[in-house]
């Protein structure tokens, strides 16, 4: 009994600082402010509003961007992790890349936006290189579009992938490959029956993590594109502060609730996919 009490602080803490805010969010999404009298009432107007028009566009935009960058980040991150682990002077390279990944995975917001502006913005060094020296333009590529944002997001998603997948890659013992070779299996067969099944769950898990991270990203998008690209996090922040439209905070809470629900759904989907994959590969 005393032992259960020992775990109590953790549950209490999580209840107060995690579950309570989410609960309050859920409840307050069902309030609305009248734009003329500024009174608050119970209503589903906020929740209904977020499924239409610019908000639906924002959800679709966020989901699209997160999905694309998650997959791209996973692919490049996996490639980088494999490349790093197999290198000859492995230890130093591994340490450099892993520590850099830990640092860059948290790098975002205005410094990151500015770094890219300094690179391929109007006055960027690469832009200048391409236009002045080489005579090419950026080929219609704009930093302030979905594509541009995706390019910037990869900057912290790829390191996150590397951080997450390296331990899984290391769990792939070289002895297994050797044993497989000794038994006469080809590379493809090794990956189909040994490497793949071992790596698939962590890779899918890591991709999910990247998706959640991209979906939740706010500061970077805000610094770079303002409202030019429809994203939910931007809409939420906009509803909390502004000089123009009045009384939109309840909509912001509904939007935030929507995000929580969506991420929850994706997690459930992931769990289902994972169970299926294991069954299929077994």
């Amino acid at each position: 009994m005393l032992v259960v009490l020992g775990a109590l602080p953790f549950f209490l803490y999580v209840a107060i600082f995690l579950l309570l805010p989410i609960g309050v969010l859920a409840v307050e999404s069902f309030r609305a402010t009248d734009p003329t009298t500024f009174e608050e009432t119970w209503s589903t107007a906020s929740v209904a509003a977020i499924t239409e028009g610019p908000y639906r566009r924002a959800y679709v935009g966020s989901l699209q961007l997160s999905a694309i960058t998650a997959v791209l980040g996973a692919v490049f991150g996996l490639a980088l992790a494999v490349a790093v682990l197999g290198a000859r002077r492995g230890r130093l390279m591994r340490r450099l890349v892993l520590t850099a990944s830990a640092v860059l995975a948290n790098f975002g917001g205005i410094p990151l936006a500015f770094a890219f502006l300094a690179t391929i913005g109007n006055a960027g060094v690469v832009t200048a290189l391409l236009t002045d020296t080489l005579g090419l333009g950026l080929g219609g590529f704009s930093l302030f579009s979905m594509a541009g944002l995706a390019l910037v997001y990869l900057y912290f998603l790829v390191p996150l992938m590397v951080l997450t997948i390296v331990p899984a890659l290391e769990a792939l013992r070289p002895q297994w490959r050797e044993a497989s070779d000794n038994l006469g299996a080809t590379g493809w067969q090794y990956w189909r029956y040994v490497g793949g099944p071992v790596l698939a769950p962590p890779v899918i898990g890591a991709t999910m993590l990247l998706f959640a991270s991209a979906f939740a990203a706010y500061a970077t998008a805000d610094a770079l594109v303002g409202s030019s690209v429809p994203l939910v996090t931007l809409q939420i922040a906009n509803s909390l502060s502004g000089d123009v439209v009045v009384g939109s905070e309840n909509r912001g809470k509904a939007l935030a609730l929507g995000m929580v629900v969506l991420v929850g759904l994706v997690m459930i989907f992931y769990a289902w996919v994972q169970r299926r994959t294991q069954r299929w590969l077994a």
């Binding site: 566009r57 109007n122 409202s227 909390l240 502060s241 502004g242 000089d243």
Partner: protein, 382 residues
């Protein structure tokens, strides 16, 4: 670290004991040492018994909390410094880059805390909202009668303070030919260079920029639609840059053309001249749109006397001239020009304006905001 934990604990316990001993009290008087409940409800200098008494009361409070006042916005830096030195009152300037909504949020969420804002500088619609939500305290400054009727709330819950016109700022060192009208902005030579001061659904400066474009393209104060159409055109022409204008983005060359309030653009001219960058400001010939911001005193101000003294200072000749020096048009300008108290040098430095501008009413603003909210994201994104 330990000390602050102890301090927090002591504060909580002491506060708890004091409050239970005294019984619950009116919210306005908690926090801020020595503040009088009468001070919080004073509506003019006479209620204090004269200017000197007001100064004394304010100095007794010793601090003023302001919010969302960037130092390079309409010369607020000089305004804050001058006030602080003149009356020996310390000023705490919170979130200088905050928006009007941030200010109202702060008043509500920080109510009862010592760091709550005392005075607010808001977009006009937000001033009206603040009054409707009961966040403001009415106060009529000494120069009340010189302020036009349509620039203030009848009881003094909010008063317009300074304003300007939408202008087009241009980095003449980088750009060969500076645009002087909205029509010019569609020229392909400005590819990726035209920027607003923020998001029009968020920032009053950007919102007004779109409205000015509307006036230049057949719209009027009842219709902001043509402005949005115009910006869609700019975006399709490849000239639009969504990055928010800051001195940084201009200096780095990212946003060489800035559509912003004339006083904000004008404040760049001097700073950039030092960096060797030539910055020109033109008020567009085809779309003249003016806008004012409004001052209000928080009903829950922790330092009510200092807040009222600040207002008196702002609307005195000295305060108004400081704004004038920042390129903004203070609300008492017509009266001051007549009386000859306006700073003539600063007056001459204002960007040239052709024609007279009309200012939108509250209803026109609400309609325009709704149109903007529905259309801007839909048409400008993706």
């Amino acid at each position: 670290m330990r000390r602050s934990t102890l301090r927090t604990a002591v504060a909580v316990v002491t506060a708890g004991l004091t409050l239970t001993a005294c019984g619950s009290d009116d919210g306005g008087s908690s926090g801020g040492g020595g503040s009088d409940t009468d001070t919080a409800t004073a509506t003019s200098v006479e209620d204090f018994g004269g200017m000197d008494a007001l100064v004394e009361a304010a100095q007794a409070e010793g601090t003023l909390n302001v919010i969302a006042l960037p130092p390079d916005w309409a010369n607020y830096g000089e305004m804050l410094e001058t006030f602080s030195e003149k009356y020996d009152i310390e000023i705490n300037s919170a979130t200088p880059d905050g928006s009007s909504q941030d200010e109202l949020n702060a008043v509500e969420s920080q109510r009862g805390q010592d760091r709550a804002p005392d005075v607010l500088d808001l977009g006009t619609n937000f001033a009206r909202q603040a009054k409707a939500e009961g966040l403001t305290a009415p106060y009529q400054v000494a120069t009340w009668d010189e302020i036009p009727e349509d620039q203030k709330d009848p009881e003094g819950n909010w008063v317009n303070d300074y304003g300007g016109y939408i202008s087009i700022g241009c980095n003449a060192t980088v750009i060969a030919e500076c645009p002087t009208s909205f029509a010019d902005l569609l020229d392909p030579q400005y590819a990726g260079q035209v920027a607003l001061n923020g998001d029009p659904t968020q920032a009053a400066a950007a919102f007004s920029g779109v409205w000015a474009a509307s006036l230049a393209n057949g719209g009027d104060l009842d219709d902001i639609g043509p402005g949005i159409d115009f910006f869609v055109q700019i975006k399709d022409a490849g000239n639009f840059n969504p990055v928010e204008i800051t001195p940084a983005t201009i200096q780095s060359g990212e946003t060489p053309i800035a559509i912003d309030w004339d006083y904000l653009n004008a404040s760049f001219t001097e700073t950039f001249a030092e960096e060797g960058v030539e910055w020109e400001v033109h008020v567009p010939s085809d779309g003249l749109f003016g806008g004012y911001y409004s001052q209000a005193i928080s009903k829950f101000a922790p330092h009510p006397a200092a807040a009222r003294l600040w207002q008196e200072f702002l609307y005195s000749d000295e305060g108004q001239n400081i704004w004038l020096a920042g390129g903004a048009r203070p609300v008492r300008l017509p009266a001051m020009e007549e009386a000859g108290t306006a700073d003539t040098e600063a007056l001459a430095g204002l960007p040239e304006v052709t024609g007279t501008a009309e200012f939108p009413t509250a209803e026109q603003e609400t309609v325009a905001q709704q149109v903007m909210g529905e259309r801007w994201n839909a048409e400008m994104s993706g």
